[in-house]
């Protein structure tokens, strides 16, 4: 009898599946938003563009663009779903682009809204567009018709090679909610015939404050932490009437930091980088096979990096953005009470920062 009862109950289980009718997802009927862009419109409104890939193989279009101007981020979704015959879902969202003007107003609330949605994961890439994000996303570049996918791949590739630090919703919110570090986001720019990464944007309290060009990205990466891969082209000026350029590649960096208390809420922060790498280009006169000459070059490269790093730290302090995370280390060197009574944003610009760079040339290629 119980076997029969079990059979009936199992049948009931199968029947229950029909209850999921309203949440049925048929791939062909889904509009999976892959890239979303948000810009500031007039009267503090929000201009949204969604890029939805077209799955139909017979269609000549590779993506569908949906645009709306609304008061809030999620209102846009309601409005945009009326423009498309597919059911809009955000579970496959890969990249979110914000326009520069919106970033200046502050992204905190918008990112909060994005994360409240259970279908949006922390792994979504975030980028700022130098200009209008919607315009960049809507543009079809010759080399890449689907700009959203292209930008996503570009960000993934660049962040894996440390030219820009990895910036996902996770990393942004992590640093945004941390009291000892400020978040950063890569900047994407329309470069005429293609979209490219033009630099790194620095945020304080969720608001865009300053940026650096992408060529300085590696210097910033050296300040921010260990790196496992990176390249740096160094201009050592003219020597004996010859321009000396060094290309330092396959860089490995081990960063060590220490905090010294100078009393009266003043601190000294020491960043000691130990960089290893290969020389792939060298246009100077010296013979690199001689260890003495190589060490000279190591010192020159270290001095070059140190100068650039000090310059960058100064710029960050002038703009009062602590994206290196100096605050985290100062916090950890204090008692809880002392840290809480410290107004870090007032103390930070006055912190004495010293960069110590040690460079080791692992090899110099296969040519004398």
């Amino acid at each position: 009898m119980y076997k029969r009862l079990s059979a009936v109950l199992l049948l009931l289980l199968v029947l229950l599946l029909t209850g999921c009718n309203s949440d049925e997802r048929i791939l062909e009927k889904l509009g999976m938003v892959q890239t979303a862009s948000y810009d500031l419109a007039e009267n503090d409104r929000l201009k949204t563009v969604y890029s939805v890939p077209v799955i139909d193989p017979e269609s000549s279009e590779r993506r569908q663009l949906l645009k709306a101007v609304t008061d809030s981020l999620k209102e846009a979704r309601v409005l945009l779903s009326k423009q498309i015959d597919l059911r809009l879902v955000s579970g496959q969202l890969r990249t979110v682009l914000f326009g520069l003007n919106l970033a200046k107003e502050g992204l905190g609330d918008h990112i909060d809204t994005l994360l409240r949605d259970p279908s949006i994961a922390l792994g979504v890439q975030v980028a700022i567009v130098d200009g209008e994000a919607g315009e960049l996303l809507s543009k079809s570049f010759k080399s890449n018709k689907d700009t959203g996918t292209f930008v996503n791949h570009l960000l993934e590739k660049e962040s894996s090679s440390n030219i820009i630090p990895p910036t996902t919703l996770y990393a942004f919110t992590r640093d945004y909610h941390d009291d000892g570090i400020d978040p950063i986001v890569p900047i994407v720019k329309d470069q005429g015939d293609r979209a490219g990464i033009s630099g790194i944007a620095f945020f304080q309290d969720g608001r865009f404050v300053m940026k650096i060009p992408s060529k300085d990205g590696i210097i910033f990466a050296l300040l921010r932490g260990d790196i496992k891969q990176g390249e740096l082209s160094i201009n050592l000026g003219e020597r004996n009437g010859r321009k000396v350029r060094v290309m330092f590649s396959s860089m490995l960096n081990k960063r060590k930091v220490s905090v010294q208390h100078l009393g009266d809420n003043r601190f000294k922060f020491i960043i000691a980088d130990s960089i290893q790498g290969s020389v792939l280009e060298y246009t100077g006169h010296e013979d690199l096979s001689q260890s003495k000459k190589r060490h000279e070059l190591e010192r020159d490269v270290a001095e070059y990096i140190r100068g650039k790093a000090q310059e960058m730290v100064k710029k960050l302090q002038q703009n009062n953005v602590d994206s290196i995370g100096i605050g985290q280390y100062v916090r950890n060197s204090l008692t809880y009470k002392a840290w809480k009574s410290l107004d870090w944003s007032k103390v930070y610009p006055g912190v004495e920062v010293e960069c110590r760079i040690k460079v080791t040339i692992k090899d110099y290629g296969k040519y004398m």
């Binding site: 119980y2 009862l5 079990s6 109950l9 199992l10 009931l12 289980l13 229950l16 209850g19 999921c20 009718n21 309203s22 949440d23 579970g91 496959q92 259970p118 279908s119 994961a121 922390l122 792994g123 996770y170 919110t173 992590r174 640093d175 945004y176 909610h177 941390d178 009291d179 570090i181 995370g325 985290q328 280390y329 916090r331 950890n332 008692t335 809880y336 840290w339």
Partner: protein, 359 residues
């Protein structure tokens, strides 16, 4: 010879009845109530639960492995005991039921936002019913099977190590928390489930190993909680962790493999096995208690009645917040039982022992 649960199966059963729905919110609760390095609170948690298990083993030793119901019935008249049994039954039944409902509501939130959650609940309850009518040995076998089926998931924690940073943990010990007493009581529900081992006495070996297995199951759970919370405190920043309602769901959502991403719906599905066992054990406990009140009713009929009653009750709380409140208050009651029942039994056993020695 009657089948007995081996020590390993006891350990797995204890662990599987402990790990449940609380694990999704645990790291956030630790950060919110206890502040920086809140994961350290799990260490005293392990001590307190171990002390409670010590009380349970004491009952086993003093009572010579007899069923707890027998011990009680020997000294207390049935008229007094029936309300106690009814109390045990209702707390365990509804506590289990609410854990199931919370899992279903979370599942609904992340995967099926508009489907009626009570349909899922019914599916889960049917499975549970089929499981509990088979008795504790089948439940134990299912628990062991589910244990191995979900074992690989612990290794997913390694995924987060590259983004883990000790700096984020801060050197501050338990600073910036609030309402620690309330938090501690709330957190204690994360450990609950081991107290049901007191009902396993007639079904397990009388060896010391079986008792050690109860400690082992609890220690394994604590170790897992510590690892998970430590990873959360170093992976998320402290402020961020306090904002995440269910940090474990966010962790699962962050995992991406080159060939697939957004795995959390599938991974969340695996947690059903853990929840099923927790609820099954509570319901089995409720069933055991109820059998003493109505011994003549056949087990499947009784189990069916209990399932239907609990299903009807699970209609009452509609939102996640309401379910949380139910779990909170029932958790208090279950914690009371976890400590109160062994203490009562020890008192009874000492009393009975004295009487016997006088005779």
């Amino acid at each position: 010879m009657m089948e007995k649960l081996s020590p390993f199966h006891v350990a797995v059963l204890v662990y599987m009845s402990q790990i449940g729905i609380v694990v999704f919110a645990l790291p956030r609760q630790l950060a919110d109530y206890f502040g920086t390095n809140g994961w350290l609170v799990l260490l005293p948690g392990l001590l307190v639960t171990s002390f409670n298990i010590y009380l349970i083993t004491l009952v086993h030793r003093l009572g010579d492995g007899k069923s707890v119901f027998e011990i009680m019935e020997r000294s207390i008249p049935k008229a007094v005991l029936y309300p106690v049994y009814l109390g045990l039954c209702s707390v365990w039944l509804i506590f289990g039921c609410m854990i199931g409902k919370k899992y279903v509501l979370l599942f609904q939130m992340i995967a099926f936002p508009t489907t009626n959650p009570m349909l899922f609940k019914m599916a889960v309850d049917v499975l549970l019913f089929l499981l509990i009518i088979k008795g504790i040995f089948t439940i134990s076998k299912a628990a062991t099977f589910f244990f191995w089926m979900t074992f690989w998931m612990y290794f997913l924690l390694f995924w987060f190590l590259p983004s883990f940073s000790w700096v984020r943990l801060t050197p501050f010990i338990l600073q910036g928390g609030h309402d620690q007493v309330k938090g501690a009581l709330e957190l204690y529900t994360a450990y609950l489930g081991y107290e049901l081992s007191i009902l396993l006495f007639p079904y397990m070996d009388k060896s010391k190993k079986s008792l050690a297995a109860i400690y082992a199951g609890n220690a394994f759970l604590s170790l897992l909680y510590i690892c998970l919370s430590l990873v959360c405190f170093g992976f998320f920043s402290f402020g961020q962790l306090k904002k995440l309602l269910f940090p474990l769901l966010d962790l699962l959502g962050y995992i991406q493999f080159p060939f697939i991403e957004r795995l959390e719906n599938m991974l969340y599905g695996f947690f059903l096995f853990l929840i099923l066992m927790t609820v099954a054990m509570y319901w089995w406990g409720a069933l055991e208690a109820m059998r003493r009140v109505i011994p003549k009713l056949k087990i499947p009929v009784l189990a069916f009645l209990l399932t239907v009653i609990s299903y009807c009750i699970s209609f009452i709380p509609k939102t996640l917040d309401q379910v949380n409140n139910w779990i909170l208050y029932l958790g208090y009651a279950a914690t009371g039982i976890a400590f109160g029942l062994p203490v009562l039994l020890i008192a009874l056993l000492l009393l009975q022992g004295r009487r016997v020695s006088r005779v």
